[in-house]
């Protein structure tokens, strides 16, 4: 977290300063979706896991 609603993000090893002005309550360790230098939304790890699980099921259905 930096001053003026700025934050340092790690983009697969690349450090980039972005703005948090469009998103409240971001904490260190959160995943955010960044567009033209601004965090637009938060990424929900539980929902990501659920989607991956559904993807796995789609495959099983086809195999049956």
């Amino acid at each position: 977290m930096l001053d003026d609603q700025q934050a340092l993000i790690d983009l697969d090893g690349v450090q980039k300063e972005i703005s948090l002005e469009l998103l409240d309550d971001v904490a260190v360790g959160d995943y955010v979706v960044v567009h033209v230098g601004y965090a637009l939304g938060r990424l929900d790890p539980e929902e990501a896991e659920r989607t991956l699980a559904l993807l796995g099921e789609a495959g099983l259905e086809a195999a049956r």
Partner: protein
């Protein structure tokens, strides 16, 4: 990278492709429009089209901001750039699009204009702070993803009383364009492409939420699935659309639940509503004049509106006649139907906007899809 690599797994993609092939009825057609250029790019980069059965066809939509900006609006930026007191800045791709007479902002820079590439609206603001003796104009383009950052910049300029910063606003609205495609008899007749369902944009929907699409499901009986940008997201969303169509449902479903909610980013929406208001009409390349499809800066912030500050008026300009960008943006023609494609028009020397942006259908075909047909027939 976490939350990216898992959604690009090839083995899973082939299994989902198996499910799509098993569930898509052989005698049905599934014409699905991916609205967003980010999806067009992903579909070609990862060869998603090649994993789909022939009755499932992806139609590329107009969701590429660089592509849909008409020549007349670009000419406004070119005229501003030619003023000696102006520093004109914009996102990188925008600088390469040919305007009237094939002149781009980069060419204008070669002729001595002060044109600069910025990564974000905040960079443009910083230029204005550093050059108080110059007029810094941010040539703002984009859908609901780039609009909130422009709003932040204008609000910031307002609170700092920055006299030398203004915005040439070209922000456009996704739902208005979708409605236009569904409403316009021209778009329906010219190519007679019936669209059966929509793949909804990822990042735009983070901002506007899934509720913005509910009227298309209810009013037009077209299923919409909001999809993430990774190839597995796209494939899962296609499967969800096929299931809706098979079951006769027309609903808004959200595949990209890890980032998109029903209401979207309300903070960003509120900020945009504070700074911008609807423009009664705006011309789109490909779609023509669409009512209530774009935003302009509110009167209260009028001193940051470049159109007011420099007394600019819009004059429509016809596209290069040989360029088929307009029909490609309506989903009526494919890039390979254009006689300029890959010959006179390439990403290095683009004739039309769809070849400039990596989100443009022509650029995606050129980068990833050029040799698809011959390879396919050789293996068939």
């Amino acid at each position: 990278m976490k939350y990216i690599d898992e959604f690009r797994d090839g083995a899973t993609a082939r299994r989902v492709a198996g499910a799509i092939a098993a569930e898509a009825e052989p005698d049905h057609h599934y014409h699905l429009m991916e609205f967003c250029g980010g999806h067009t790019h992903a579909i070609y980069r990862y060869g998603v089209q090649d994993l789909l059965p022939p009755q499932v066809r992806m139609i590329h939509g107009p969701g590429c901001p660089v592509c849909v900006l008409p020549v007349g609006r670009l000419d406004m930026a070119l005229s501003l750039a030619s003023r000696p007191e102006v520093i004109l800045c914009s996102y990188g791709d925008m600088l390469r699009v040919p305007g009237s007479g094939g002149r781009s902002l980069l060419k204008a820079r070669g002729e001595g204009a002060d044109v600069r590439m910025v990564y974000s609206a905040a960079d443009a603001l910083e230029l204005a702070r550093r050059h108080p003796e110059r007029q810094v104009v941010f040539f703002a383009i984009g859908f609901e993803t780039t609009t909130p950052p422009t709003a932040v910049a204008i609000r910031q300029a307002h609170s700092e009383d920055l006299e030398n910063f203004s915005v040439l606003c070209n922000h456009v609205l996704t739902p208005a364009a979708v409605a236009n495609i569904l409403d316009s008899p021209a778009a329906r007749e010219i190519g007679s492409v019936p669209i059966d369902g929509f793949l909804g944009p990822a990042h735009v929907s983070i901002v506007i939420g899934t509720h913005a699409y509910e009227r298309f499901a209810e009013g037009y009986r077209k299923p919409v699935v909001i999809s993430g940008f990774e190839p597995l997201d796209v494939m899962q969303s296609i499967l969800m659309l096929i299931r809706q169509l098979n079951e006769g449902r027309a609903e808004v479903e959200n595949q990209y639940t890890r980032a998109v909610t029903r209401l979207g980013n309300v903070k960003a929406q509120d900020l945009c509503a504070e700074i911008f208001e609807p423009r009664s009409e705006f011309e789109w390349r490909g779609l023509g004049v669409v009512p209530d499809s774009a935003l302009q800066i509110r009167k209260e912030f009028g001193r940051f509106d470049a159109e007011r500050r420099f007394d600019l008026t819009y004059a429509p300009v016809g596209d290069n006649r040989a360029c088929e960008c307009g029909s490609i943006l309506r989903g009526v023609l494919e890039p390979t139907d254009c006689k300029l494609f890959g010959t006179a028009c390439t990403p290095e020397t683009p004739m039309g906007s769809c070849m400039v942006s990596s989100e443009g259908a022509c650029a995606a075909y050129y980068q990833y899809g050029r040799f698809r047909q011959p390879v396919k027939s050789a293996t068939a």
